[in-house]
Subunit: 213 residues, 2 copies
C-alpha cells in the first residue's frame, strides 16, 4: 500500500476521511476477527462473512476445500471489507447525525497458500485468537490440513475510511437546544465459559480474557 | 420469510445452524447498526458497509442521492449481510476451533421509498439509535430530505446462520489436556462524550446509554 488510490479504491464521499497508508490498514485488520467478502457468480452478488487475519502484506482466510466460496475466490476478483463501529454521533440536526467507524476495503484475487506455508498461516490465526494456545491443543492431522484451504489476498489495492470525533453541525444549528456528542461502543470480553466436561484449569489466555477486549 | 430457502439462500455447510424464520431474522437486524452490501458493476464486486434498520418486513438503508451505491442498488440485484460475532470457541483440537455468531443474508433489489414514507423511515432510524431524541433535534429541512434517498429491500429471500454453545470436539479428542470452552464478547457502551460546546444536560437516551449495549 502507501500508494495512489485506483479507480476502485478512491474514496469520493467525505474524502477527508480516506486513508491509503499501511499503518491504518494493518491496524483495522489486526483488530478484526471477521471480514465480509463480496463476489459474483451466475446467481448474482454474494456477501459472505468469514474469519480473517493478517500476515505481513496479505489478508488471510481459510475454508473447507469444497466450499463454493473457496473455489470461486481462487478464480475470480472480489472485494473484502472490514468495519468496526465505534459509536453513534449525535448532532443537533437530524441530517448531521453520523457514526464513528474504522473501515477497510481490499480489492483483488485470493491465491491458495500451500503446504508448510498454509500450516504456518493457520498457526498465525491461532496465535491471534489466543496467544500461547498452539502448544496446548491437539495439532491438526494431515487429513485435517488436507481438507482445509488457506487463501490470501495482497494488500495492494486497498483503502480505509475512518470517522472519529464529535458531531459536525452546521454553524446555524449550534445554538439548537439538543444534546450533542458521541455515544461510543467497544467490543468487551465477557466471562469465559468452560466446557462442562473440561477439568483443565484456565491458562493465561483464558484468565486474561477479561483484560483483553 | 418463513418460507423454503431458494437456491441462493439454502445453507449447505453445517446446515443444522440454518434458520429461515422471521423471528430469527428480525432479531439479527434489530441488533445491528450496520450491514455490508455486495453488488457488482463494470469494475467488479463491491462490499460496502452502511447503516441499516428494519421496518416491518423490509430492511432500510439511506444515502446521498448522488452516491454510486444508491444509484446502482436501485437498478441491480444485491446481497445484504449482517454478522454479529459473539465469541471464540476453543476446542481441544486446532481443527475444531470455531466462532459463535449470528448472521443474516438477504438477496433482492432495493426500491426507493418516497415522500412521507421516507421521512417516517428516517424517524424510525432515529428512534432506533436514540429512543425519544426525535423531538429534541432540529428536524430535516425540505432540502435535506430532498438530498437523501431512502431505500428498502424486502425480507423475502433471506437466510440466517447461527452458531451458539461450546466446542464440538471429536470423541477421540475429549481427553486431550487442553482448556475447552467459549471466550464471549459483547458490544459494550462506553461513557457518553459530550460535544465541548454542548451545555445541554444529558437526556434519558444519553444518561441511560451505559445500561444499553
Amino acid at each position: 500500500m502507501n500508494q495512489a488510490p485506483t479507480d476502485r479504491t478512491r474514496i469520493r464521499r467525505v474524502a477527508s476521511n480516506a486513508h491509503y497508508d499501511s499503518t491504518t490498514l494493518h491496524a483495522i485488520i489486526d483488530d478484526a476477527y471477521l471480514c465480509h467478502i463480496a463476489f459474483s457468480d451466475a446467481r448474482g452478488a454474494h456477501c459472505i462473512p468469514t474469519a480473517c487475519w493478517r500476515g505481513g502484506e496479505h489478508l488471510y482466510i481459510h475454508g473447507s476445500n469444497g466450499s463454493r466460496m473457496v473455489r470461486h475466490l481462487l478464480e475470480n476478483e472480489c472485494c473484502v471489507s472490514i468495519t468496526h463501529l465505534d459509536g453513534l454521533v449525535l448532532a443537533r440536526s437530524a441530517f448531521n447525525h453520523s457514526m464513528n467507524y474504522r473501515s477497510a476495503m481490499i480489492y483483488g484475487r485470493f491465491q491458495a497458500v500451500e503446504g508448510a506455508d498454509a500450516r504456518y498461516a493457520l498457526e498465525t490465526l491461532m496465535e491471534k485468537l489466543t496467544p500461547g494456545r498452539q502448544a496446548d491443543i491437539r495439532p491438526g492431522s494431515d487429513k485435517e490440513y488436507a481438507a482445509t484451504t488457506v487463501l490470501r489476498i495482497a494488500l495492494t489495492e486497498a483503502a480505509c475510511k475512518v470517522r472519529r470525533g464529535g458531531p459536525d453541525d452546521d454553524e446555524t444549528d449550534l445554538a439548537w437546544p439538543a444534546w450533542a456528542g458521541v455515544l461510543p461502543w467497544t467490543r468487551a470480553p465477557m466471562a469465559p465459559q468452560p466446557d462442562p466436561a473440561c477439568t483443565i484449569s484456565a491458562p493465561a489466555y483464558v484468565s486474561d480474557w477479561l483484560r483483553r477486549g
